[in-house]
């Protein structure tokens, strides 16, 4: 199977279209007040995107998400990589992470708001927490999987331990790190919306819940569509970047497949 050509894009378009058709038919049959047909919701999308205030809200959301995500990755990658190469560091962090992992990050939001208020700092911190754990976990796994023998050959050429971590372990674990970042990106989006749901001021979550309060259901669904499209676009952009960064790890390497 090749991954070139329009086939995946076409499949995605068909899947989306099928979803909207099912929604349209379902809504028209059910006639529930809180479930407008897809056509009505879609009609609201240009209205939201054309409204300067709504765009400011979306921009504020994305800014917090980018900051939280970047900080999360910057902290998580070094921690994960070091854990993978040192049993002592892993023994220190592992129990801590196991305690924090199952706690829904949004559940910490009210406590964090007591410390940092309802502004950007609280929301960014929650996004940061949502991002760090999957990125640490994947970086840790990737770093552990780097063969000791490979590090031996670097050591045998005189590379110091920190140089080996940066020059060998980091790039070799990059496919895993990026897999973690991909999960982190989705979690950043989720925590972004939930944080705005709890501390309403600005943001996509704010539009969503304000319109819900005012029973503007078509706007509610239109916002959900926008969030979904945002996630899809971010993920596609990230996959494109990942493909460029770790081409060497692609199993379908053209020449590799051609060797006898």
């Amino acid at each position: 199977m090749t991954r070139t050509g329009p086939a995946p894009a076409l499949a995605a378009a068909i899947a989306c279209a099928a979803l909207f058709v099912a929604w349209e038919i379902g809504a028209r049959l059910a006639r529930i007040d809180g479930l407008p047909p897809a056509s009505q919701a879609l009609a609201q999308v240009p209205a939201i995107l054309g409204d300067p205030e709504a765009l400011l809200n979306i921009g504020a959301s994305l800014r917090r998400m980018v900051v939280g995500f970047a900080l999360g990755v910057a902290v998580a990658v070094p921690v994960g990589l070091t854990m993978g190469r040192s049993r002592h560091v892993a023994a220190f962090f592992n129990p801590l992470l196991m305690v924090i992992y199952p706690v829904p990050k949004a559940a910490l939001m009210p406590v964090i708001m007591l410390w940092l208020g309802v502004g950007d700092a609280s929301k960014t911190l929650v996004i940061f927490l949502g991002v760090t754990l999957p990125v640490i976990y994947h970086s840790y796994q990737g770093s552990r999987a780097v063969e000791q023998k490979m590090l031996w050959s670097a050591a045998a050429m005189g590379m110091t331990a920190p140089a080996r971590l940066v020059r060998i372990v980091l790039p070799a674990a990059l496919p895993d790190i990026l897999a973690g970042c991909r999960v982190g990106l989705v979690l950043a989006l989720i925590t972004m919306v939930t944080s705005e749901m709890i501390a309403r001021q600005t943001g996509v979550g704010n539009i969503l819940f304000n319109s819900l309060d005012m029973a503007q259901y078509d706007t509610v669904y239109a916002t959900i569509i926008i969030i979904g499209a945002l996630g899809f676009a971010l993920d596609a952009a990230f996959e494109w970047l990942r493909g460029r960064l770790v081409a060497w790890a692609e199993p379908a390497h053209p020449i590799l497949a051609g060797t006898t």
Binding site: K149, S153, A154, A156, M157, G158, A163, P171, W248, I255
Partner: protein, 255 residues
């Protein structure tokens, strides 16, 4: 082989001992290597031969005795002093059984990594040296591929070129051909023979007795962590003195 031009000692092992827990993996090893000497170390698996050469660049630590490596007139004793270990590793190249190339780097970048980051060599100069070494191991056309795209024999030749990029005074080979398909063994041995002819000091752990016959100045037989027998290849193969050597040779030479 030709007479050795320099007679200075480059590696000196005195009463080296090493244990893995209770297991005595190296027992009272004494070994002296002169500049330009080629030594082949053979022995059954588990005899400690790989451990021995890994101790020489301290990928493994010995617990008793002393190992002194002399390069450029300086004698450095291996200890926990990281500076000493790094100084020795810059001068001692090593080639492993499983190639151990960096999968995320192209062949050229595999070669230039250590010269650039350890020796602080300018990138252009490192690449020139790398390309000349790839010519020497006869695979310059592979420079921009990744290790996964090369055959085992090609990868091992890259690994040799990578070690030579650091301009080492001594080369250690840890079973360089045992992970290769039979048809690829020769291309790697040819590169090693050429290197030997150019006067490199070499310690080679291998069971390639043809290689030992044609290039080795001395063959060392190890068993159960001890050096059991050593001598020039002619003598070693014609009249092994020890019973264990005879048994080992009969096992690997008769098919």
């Amino acid at each position: 082989m030709a007479a050795l031009n320099g007679t200075s000692t480059v590696i000196q092992l005195d009463q080296v001992n090493k244990w893995y827990g209770q297991f005595h993996v190296l027992t009272d090893i004494n070994l002296q290597v002169k500049q330009g000497e080629k030594i082949v170390i053979c022995g059954p698996s588990g005899s400690g031969k790989s451990t021995l050469i890994r101790c020489i660049n301290r990928l493994e630590e010995h617990q008793a005795g002393s190992i002194v490596v002399s390069v450029d007139g300086k004698s450095i004793e291996l200890s926990n002093d990281v500076k000493n270990v790094e100084a020795i590793r810059k001068e001692v190249g090593m080639v492993f059984q499983s190639f151990n190339l960096f999968p995320h780097l192209t062949i050229l970048d595999n070669l230039t990594l250590a010269p650039i980051w350890v020796k602080k060599m300018p990138k252009k100069e490192a690449e020139e040296i790398a390309m000349s070494l790839l010519h020497r191991v006869r695979i310059p056309e592979q420079a921009n591929k990744y290790p996964g795209q090369l055959s085992g024999g090609q990868q091992q030749r890259v690994a040799i070129a990578r070690a030579l990029c650091m301009r080492p005074q001594i080369m250690l080979f840890d079973e360089p051909t045992s992970a290769l398909d039979p048809e690829m063994v020769k291309e790697v041995l040819d590169v090693m023979i050429e290197l030997a002819r150019e006067g490199m000091t070499m310690l080679v752990v291998t069971h390639e007795m043809g290689f030992a016959r044609s290039v080795a100045d001395r063959v060392i037989f190890m068993d159960r962590g001890e050096i059991v027998e050593e001598g020039p290849p002619k003598e070693f193969f014609a009249n092994p003195r020890n019973e264990r050597t005879r048994t080992f040779l009969s096992q690997i030479l008769h098919h």
